[in-house]
């Protein structure tokens, strides 16, 4: 079942004194299937947040349409099934954690008893049960992020939309978010999140959409996106003569790195590799390792970004 669908979604803004038209989203068409974790990957300013806002009814499209769970996104009722966490969220800082969640639960129409139960569950889930009676103005950034996640789940939604959920978090925080997303998937939910952090996508996403300059550049599962071609060959040598250093550096696609008594560098093709290895062996160095680097998602991503510029 298709949970999210957009067709030709386009957004233009009028900015500046002369009200010039700026198109920030071009003809976006994509689909998100039920139960999958979809990573919406793009550099800053690519249009990720704009897409999410269009899906949630925060802004209106210039052209095109969008549906959530089969209903037009303008249908207010469909939002009962959606949970949303915006980027760098600000919340009512005069409310306590519990009051905050109670407010949103109430807004969803969750009945009183169920609300109280869920609030406690969610606070436990995000590790904030001790901070429940503290005013939000006293929360740290990480805590705000977590209570924001709790708010996105208060109505037990089918679709969860997250805008840069891991931005600004330390590695531990990021892992916690990733685990949470996988947990949601295990419960049969659909997660659609935007980010510019490639490893997060690689680790948990079923499908990926790469958006650059307001256009959807690539979309598909990670395997589909990766061509399997070899990006570069990483060579580790020991016993390198100082005299050969410049030569090696010239052939390497990135500056060579010293590691204890070894040197690591990389060349583009197998041919290059063969040549360099021959050269080094001839001068008495030993080859410790030769590792082909297959194309990673980051490479695909960078290539798309470069392509648009």
């Amino acid at each position: 079942m298709v949970v999210v669908k957009t067709e030709g979604l386009t957004k233009e803004y009028r900015t500046g004194f002369w009200r010039t038209r700026v198109r920030v989203l071009h003809d976006l068409s994509l689909e998100v299937q039920q139960g999958e974790v979809f990573g919406y990957l793009g550099p800053n300013g690519a249009g990720k947040t704009t897409t999410l806002k269009l899906l949630l009814g925060l802004i209106y499209p210039t052209a095109g349409r969008a549906w959530i769970l089969g209903k037009d996104v303008f249908d207010v009722a469909v939002k009962a099934q959606v949970g949303f966490l915006p980027e760098n969220p600000y919340f009512y800082d005069y409310l306590t954690g519990r009051e905050f969640l109670d407010f949103y639960g109430h807004l969803f129409g969750v009945p009183y008893r169920e609300r109280r139960q869920r609030i406690e569950e969610l606070l436990r889930l995000v590790g904030l049960e001790k901070a429940g009676d503290l005013q939000l103005r006293k929360y740290s950034k990480g805590m705000l992020q977590r209570v924001g996640l709790a708010q996105a789940l208060i109505n037990d939604p089918q679709l969860i939309i997250l805008d840069e959920p891991t931005s600004g978090l330390d590695p531990v925080g990021r892992k916690q978010v990733r685990d949470l997303i996988l947990d949601l998937k295990a419960r049969g939910k659909t997660v659609f999140f935007s980010t510019h952090i490639v490893p997060d996508v690689e680790l948990i996403c079923d499908r990926v959409g790469i958006i650059v300059g307001g256009r959807l550049a690539r979309v598909g599962s990670i395997d589909e996106l990766l061509t399997g071609e070899v990006e570069s060959i990483e060579i580790t040598v020991s016993g390198l003569e100082e005299a050969l250093w410049d030569q090696v550096a010239a052939r390497s696609i990135r500056p060579p790195v010293r590691r204890a008594e070894r040197v690591v560098f990389a060349v583009k093709t197998e041919k290059e590799a063969a040549k360099v290895i021959e050269l080094l062996l001839g001068r008495g160095a030993s080859i410790v390792a030769v590792q082909p680097q297959r194309q990673r998602l980051e490479d695909v991503f960078l290539r798309e970004v470069a392509g648009r510029e």
Partner: protein
């Protein structure tokens, strides 16, 4: 409907926890208390002075609260982006506007009631009687505050606080002087201008209609002073303001 109430209650909570409110309330109560002193040097006019000044301060401070909290009602949410997590919920945009408006109205209601009781308490201490007629005056003051709040929330949807404050204060001043201005305008204007003035006169809020404090203090019978038509006018005007606000808010992109 309960969604509107959730927002309203939340707005009320926010206002109540806003320290500015307490500062204004404390100041207002102190001012009203000081009327006691003024009354003693009033050379026989003490009773009138206490009531005039008491009601005057209730109106003045209520207006300040209505304007300065009102202009931030929607603007703050948009500016701080707390609105994202609300509009993305199953709530109609007009429900949000109504909720915010009702929340501030509730706050004003509580304020006016407290201050009126304080004034009545002072009068009881000074004169030994409870002057319940003051509630009629307070009621109309509250109605006027509701109109002012409506104006403030309208501006708060699309304008920055500074501009909103200027516009709302200006409309407040114009609204209070509307009858005088109309007279003045009609005396010195040509035929075309006169038609324009009359049209504008009906569009702008005539706040003078809610100002019955002077008459109440002078002891005129309430049946003469309180005009049901004025009350209807007030509610109709508020409805118009809120409807306009809802339209603008409905079509807004939250960048």
């Amino acid at each position: 409907m309960s969604r509107i109430w959730v927002i309203a209650l939340n707005t009320f909570k926010e206002a109540v926890r806003d320290r500015i409110l307490y500062a204004i309330l404390a100041f207002a109560t102190a001012m009203i208390g000081s009327t006691f002193v003024l009354a003693t040097i009033g050379a026989g006019s003490g009773e009138k002075i206490i009531r005039d000044i008491g009601l005057g301060f209730i109106s003045l401070f209520g207006t300040l609260i209505a304007i300065f909290i009102g202009i931030g009602l929607v603007y703050k949410e948009i500016d701080r982006r707390t609105i994202y997590t609300i509009v993305s919920k199953p709530i109609h945009r007009y429900q949000f506007v109504l909720g915010k408006y009702l929340g501030l109205t509730l706050t004003l209601f509580v304020n006016v009631i407290i201050m009126t009781w304080a004034l009545m308490g002072l009068i009881y201490i000074g004169e030994g009687l409870w002057d319940f007629r003051l509630f009629a005056a307070s009621g109309m003051i509250l109605l006027e505050l509701m109109v002012i709040t409506g104006i403030a929330i309208l501006f708060s949807v699309f304008s920055t606080p500074t501009l909103s404050a200027i516009f709302t204060l200006s409309l407040f001043a114009i609204g209070r002087l509307l009858d005088d201005l109309r007279l003045f305008g009609e005396r010195y204007a040509g035929d075309v201008s006169r038609a324009v003035i009359r049209a504008v006169y009906y569009l702008l809020p005539n706040l003078g209609r809610f100002n019955i404090s002077g008459e109440v203090v002078h002891g005129l019978p309430l049946s003469e002073v309180v005009s049901p038509m004025a009350v209807v006018y007030g509610f109709l005007y508020v409805t118009a303001l809120l409807a306009l606000t809802a339209v603008i808010f409905q079509n807004k992109d939250f960048r």
